[in-house]
């Protein structure tokens, strides 16, 4: 489980390290909006894409170009992966999605997440970008 902020460069690096691994992945939103003003909007875009079964595709596109996270860039990504744009916009702006992201942040804080990226593997929190050795160990079912 990766706790991530889509505007955090270290999260993008961590994503590159784990995205093609054999790990079963989960993602929790940890947008630090005072540092990253578009982090919430990007998290909402991922959640909205997920409601059209394109969550990981959007996650990859968001991490892949963190310099372009304004609304037209999000619409462009949504178009590229074939989302219904009106539905995408309704979902990403909905109070339900806003509340889900806020709850994700609160729960992460309660779980002891202090910064991004943090990766939870087998009840153990790993802070920072994992090195290739970490990923290999996790894939083999062992924790460092």
């Amino acid at each position: 489980m990766i706790y991530a902020d889509f505007e955090c460069p270290r999260c993008a690096f961590a994503w590159e390290r784990i995205k093609d691994s054999q790990l079963r992945l989960g993602l929790r939103y940890f947008p630090v909006s005072s540092r990253h003003p578009r982090a919430n909007a990007a998290a909402a875009a991922a959640e909205a894409a997920g409601r059209q079964d394109m969550f990981w595709e959007m996650v990859d596109l968001l991490f892949g170009d963190q310099g372009r996270l304004d609304d037209p860039h999000l619409w462009g990504r949504a178009r590229d992966i074939g989302l219904d744009l009106e539905q995408f916009d309704r979902d990403r702006r909905s109070p339900e999605v806003e509340s889900l992201i806020a709850d994700s942040f609160r729960n992460a804080v309660r779980a002891g997440v202090m910064a991004t990226p943090t990766i939870l593997v087998d009840d153990s929190l790993h802070q920072g970008v994992p090195d290739l050795g970490d990923v290999a160990l996790w894939e083999s079912g062992r924790s460092r």
Partner: protein
């Protein structure tokens, strides 16, 4: 030197506010207050720490608590720090005499700057909960702020 322990009376102290006024033990009476002692404005860990705390500020306020950052930086440096990083948590300066309040709270590092520590002060102006990081480079998670507030709630 270690941070004041639970139940300790808050000593007399005086810290500078951004508006030039002083903040003293009298400002703690009747309130729940979280004091966040941190080594240096603009240092990487301090920046991460305040950005994360900013995200839970509304939750802290909804618990009826106020929160302040405390360092030995000047008020001007503290103001520049929080403006630069979009943080609204008020800052208190222990600039002159440098570190006097930190010493009174038991958090003055031998290097002349504050240890990274958290103190929850109850309305009775006593320490309700305190925490000192093992090293100034260790970031205390925001979960600790709520542990502190929970601890105070259990004492009431």
């Amino acid at each position: 030197m270690t941070v004041l322990s639970v139940g300790s009376e808050i000593p007399a102290f005086s810290l500078g506010k951004a508006d030039g006024e002083r903040f003293t033990e009298a400002d703690l009476a009747g309130n729940t207050t979280i004091l966040v002692f941190y080594p240096f404005a603009f240092s990487p860990v301090c920046t991460d720490q305040f950005n994360i705390y900013e995200e839970v500020l509304s939750d802290i306020h909804s618990r009826g608590a106020a929160i302040y950052g405390v360092s030995c930086d000047s008020s001007y440096a503290q103001t520049a720090f929080i403006e630069k990083f979009n943080v609204s948590i008020a800052q208190l300066s222990d600039f002159e005499p440098k570190g006097a309040a930190c010493e009174a709270f038991g958090v003055k590092h031998p290097g002349g700057f504050p240890e990274r520590a958290l103190i929850v002060v109850g309305p009775d102006v006593k320490v309700a909960w305190s925490y000192q990081a093992a090293s100034p480079g260790e970031l205390p998670g925001a979960n600790l702020l709520f542990d502190g507030l929970d601890s105070l709630a259990e004492q009431v």
